[in-house]
Symmetry: C2
Subunit: 683 residues, 2 copies
């Protein structure tokens, strides 16, 4: 039956690519960096612009606050990186924020982090794809004209790629990421050379524009609020920093040390690029407005709704390299590609987190087997669906989507850091070695500072962005939280219901005999096989049962039964309304009434077919009958399969599917990590 | 699993109404008439108008041909009624056209008739509902303004009613049908009294309009063609006549005689009403045009696209009774109601024919059990879906839909009558009694005449309407025919594949022992039950198998196993990738390799739940595993159910559903008729 629902998926996705089991290779730092850093590094493509955009509300004069905001972001980045370096050392098994919060702060905190991260994965896809499309659009106008469509197509493409389980390799991530990083650095250096040394005047395409201040002359609390809001937008540069803490097992040894180094490198690169772009934007007089159509003026006239506000990085590139030049196009393409890779990281993270949550019974249990294709498929489709809805509603506008972003990340940052403080407290209680205690004290101080700062940022983000859209993200978290709590409660209730008692009460009601019933419609091979299998079970009585739906067929069946001398009695049930299920159910119930201590075993010959449409033609009555029989206590149902020739095709398909490899394997490392916390302290 | 796909249905449809088994009452003629006649009688609501409409192409002068067309329709009606009176006597078991064609002309003819009837059922819904909405619209302008929407809502309403299995009663049909018939007769008589006796001048709302002849001065072949096309449209009055021949078992005794009398009555009523309305339309100067906006002129000016052309019956009623009077509104309501009832007959006929076709393996086998709710549901949803598509495409315009109509009916008429001629030929070969032979000769003559005339009409309909839309109906038939042939071929191939050989070859490969495997994840009641059931099957070896997905859980399982002293060995399979299916499949295969002559019996504890969403939380791994296991030869899979408390709810629901009664029971009579032809000759 599950075949049927798979069909649309199968048609769309085709067969998974054949590939060997992945993940037997560990990542050197030079590959690990791009694998994990595409998300935080790519955010420099939109974060600086968002800062300017918010500041523009108070007019272009407010732009001079932007270096200070950049400094705040840098401080925050260093704090977060320093904090997560502690996580990486303390949880070398790759325990992410969920595990840290769950272990140290309890299940409610864990579930909050999980809900926050799930929402944030969705937003990572929506924001990165939208921004990627905008960057691509700065080089290809067609893309800008059909922004929403392009974004949705891109999400669909990523979805199909991930569903197919395209084989990943570190190089796939390395090349565009390094091109992007190199491009941005060349731009910064060349900009400095041209501006400061050669004395060129570089002008961004919007340099001659003026900005109409929506709220001119802001001061006092209103100004502080605006600055905080700009800072909140800038914080988008920090998303994805936590990813490395999940991926420690994928690093080469010494794993924790290498992961910590990579984390530091990533932080360093990100802030340099962020500050560089802000600096160049100031130098080249980039103008960004929140509602450009109205507030961006050219020669004193608003530019109108036809105007497309290109991303800061592309405006800066146009100023430094020249619009449409080779370097400009390469940088635009690399930026878009890195943003798409960043979206792709969510495709790995979302189902993985789902499988961890399933392990803790917050999501359907079957999702928890690692590398299970169906589990990943469901997660991927859910993620893509939610992202498409957001992109559609917000018209693939990264500026509007960013209002929803970051809440989740900072919820997760804060709870994870608080959890780490608890972690050190616990270890300090038992640790005697003064050197180790000293290191623990230092780690605890770092994590405590991280917790305070990220907590503060979380409050700032919530205050400044709640009404701008952050409430949507909060609502999403609440929905995830409530759903997962309900699922967990259901599992707990069932577990209680089915818990085996210590007293052998269950054994007392154990049936003494089995009455076996083989369902028969015609004498053919599947029936004969079912009969011969049933005969092997020599315990109790055995009879064949047929329903008289068609008198002629029943007569033929009886004749054939006698002619073949089948040594099993054949019972024919009357069915005036040509039903099949009801007479059989009634008969089985009557058997149970006659001898309540016996169990009834019903054998159903079942056809195994190879194509989905064949399911419509076979086994439907059997399936429905089985569904009804299972409600009758004291009954077990045995399917005796008969493989039709066509089933070979399905078997081959199933084999192919089994060779599928789960996306994100590169990031997760080679072996199944043990679930329980390896409470390692820092070496 | 089938639960899952049922969910949307269940939400929409709710629980079926509780009702006792129907059909224990036979129909007296006065009830049988309205039950079977709503379809042919209701067509007088649109057929006369269609005749005038086609004639108007040649200008209003062509209207004087309409009495001749009415005569032709009357002759045809008498012929068809006389022919079907022979069917009714020859096949008192209620063999419809499909059975007659199938038995006498072979399966291809039978399948052609079936395809034709299936298409025609869809069109009956589309045409009757559209016309009903138009008639309702003549009294309630809102309905006309939202024609397509109203028609679709009406179809949806009928669908839900039929899916719920609302209890039918003959009275439900009798009251509106008799009101409608009485209303039309009163109108005809009152019209004659006012016009001929009192000398009143009755003017239809369109009496003062003139018609712009699209093709003025038609003559010769073109005129004949136009008259034939008008006649083809008039033939819509004949649809549904064949229904009684399916329903003979529902009549009181003497069944055949009563059915034949009812058929004659129905024919008489239909033609009287048809001619009466045409006559009144001529007397009151009704003007109808094929494209009224352009060709209908008022004071020499086209009425334009805002004009609504009301049905002839409503225009005549306005002329005779006065627009908006009590009688006018009652007649409009009764007309609409009878048309909706006519649509409802298709809801009974379509799934019934489907179940007969399933019996002959042209459709999925499970559809053939009579009164099976799911079979009816699928048929009803398919019918409604197709009708909605047509109504949507053709904007609920009965005039455009009628172009597609009738082809199917006349294919069915013609083949059925040809089949009847063969039937009599066959019986004449063996019959000796001269009196009986005389009657048979007479019957054969009638059927031969019927076959010739209906065949001729079929050719006319195809020639005059093919390019106007009849090709759509033909295409529909071809699709049904090809699909059903393919299904039958599949079943035949499978039947051949699984046919038991006479040599006991199958018995030779019969396994000698059974290796039983109980799948275990935790020690709880479902597991213990599965173990105790498996232990009852004392044949061969028994072991419990668990997959080591989580080392901690596996350890706990082992401990508990030992603590409880369970006397079944526990085997733990390694699973480095946290998979469940693959290790088990591999293990079962290894068992088969070691002892190829043994069968493997796998016991899976299964949860029985009460709500659809619980299916998402339980058994998914088990179901998938089962799906894979069935592909492995020599394996049988036993589900040992554990009924969770919540399953009680589902059990209650299932019981309620089982009490559902199939729509159309009134028409079909009380008992399951024997399938094989009771070759009765006329008494």
């Amino acid at each position: 039956m599950s075949k049927l629902t798979d069909v649309p998926k199968r048609i769309l996705i085709g067969r998974a690519l054949r590939s060997d089991k992945l993940g037997e290779t560990l990542l050197p730092k030079r590959i690990a960096l791009p694998v994990f850093a595409s998300d935080p590094l790519s955010s420099v493509a939109y974060a600086p612009g968002e800062v300017l955009l918010v500041l523009s509300v108070a007019g272009v004069s407010a732009y001079h606050f932007s270096p200070w905001i950049a400094v705040a972001v840098v401080v925050l980045m260093f704090t977060v990186v320093a904090s997560y370096r502690q996580n990486v050392h303390a949880y070398p098994s790759g325990g992410g924020d969920y595990e840290v919060a769950n272990t140290n702060l309890g299940p409610k905190a864990g579930l909050t982090v999980a809900s926050a991260l799930l929402v944030d994965y969705v937003l990572t896809v929506a924001v990165s794809i939208s921004s990627g499309v905008e960057n691509l659009g700065s080089a290809i106008p067609f893309v800008t004209e059909h922004k929403t469509l392009c974004a949705i197509v891109m999400i669909a493409l990523l979805t199909v790629m991930n569903l197919r389980g395209v084989k990943e390799s570190g190089k796939l991530f390395a090349i565009p990421t390094y091109i992007f990083v190199a491009g941005v650095f060349i731009m910064i250096i060349w900009g400095v050379v041209r501006g400061a040394i050669m004395g060129d005047t570089m002008k961004a395409p919007t340099a001659d524009f003026t900005i109409h201040a929506e709220q001119g002359g802001l001061a006092g609390f209103a100004l502080v609020f605006l600055l905080l809001r700009a800072f909140s937008s800038g914080c988008a540069a920090l998303t994805g920093v936590e990813a490395i803490s999940n991926g420690v097992p994928a690093f080469r040894k010494p794993k924790s040390k290498n992961a910590a180094t990579t984390l530091a490198l990533m932080g360093g690169l990100a802030v340099t690029m962020f500050c560089g772009i802000i600096g160049l934007a100031m130098a080249t007089d980039v103008k960004m407005a929140e509602t450009p159509a109205k507030d961006l003026l050219h020669n004193g006239v608003p530019v109108g709704p036809g105007y497309t506000q290109n991303p800061v990085i592309s405006q800066v590139a146009a100023a430094v390299f020249g619009d449409g030049t080779f370097f400009f196009v390469v940088l635009a393409a690399a930026t878009a590609l890195v943003l798409f890779l960043a979206a792709n990281t969510a495709y790995n993270g979302f189902p993985l987190l789902g499988s961890i949550l399933a392990q803790d019974r917050y999501l359907p249990r079957q999702l928890h087997t690692r590398g299970d294709r169906l589990a990943f498929s469901n997660g991927i489709v859910l993620l893509a669906g939610a992202a498409i809805v957001l992109v559609y509603i917000y018209g693939a506008d990264s500026t509007r989507l960013i209002q929803l972003y970051i809440v989740g990340v900072f919820v997760s940052f804060t709870l994870s850091q608080v959890g780490m403080v608890r972690h050190w407290n616990r270890h300090l209680r038992t640790e005697k070695d003064p050197a180790k205690r000293r290191r623990m004290h230092r780690s605890r101080a770092i994590n405590a500072f991280g917790a305070t700062l990220t907590g503060l940022v979380l409050v700032v983000v919530l205050l400044t962005k709640f009404s701008h859209g952050a409430w949507v993200a909060v609502l999403g978290m609440v929905i995830f939280y409530v759903t997962m709590t309900a699922i967990r409660r259901h599992y707990d209730r069932v577990a209680e219901e089915i818990a085996a008692e210590d007293a052998p009460g269950d054994e007392a009601v154990r049936p003494s005999r089995v009455h076996s019933v083989v369902l028969v419609s015609k004498v053919h091979k599947p029936t004969l096989r079912a009969l011969s299998y049933a005969k092997l079970m020599r315990s109790g009585t055995l009879e064949a049962v047929s329903v008289d739906v068609d008198p002629a067929e029943t007569k033929a069946l009886k004749t054939e039964w006698e002619r073949r001398n089948i040594d099993v009695p054949l019972k024919v049930l009357a069915s005036p309304y040509r039903e099949i299920t009801r007479p059989i159910i009634d008969y089985v119930k009557s058997l149970r009434r006659e001898s309540p201590r016996d169990a009834v075993s019903v054998y159903i010959p079942e056809y195994v077919v190879g194509h989905w449409y064949e399911h419509l033609l076979h086994n439907q009555s059997a399936l429905r009958l089985k569904g009804r029989l299972l409600f009758t206590p004291g009954v077990m149902v045995t399917s005796v399969p008969w493989q039709l020739d066509s089933s070979e095709a399905a078997k081959r398909r199933a084999r192919k599917r089994a060779e599928w490899n789960a996306p994100g394997a590169v990031r997760r490392g080679p072996v199944a990590q043990p679930k329980k916390e390896k409470a390692a302290t820092r070496k």
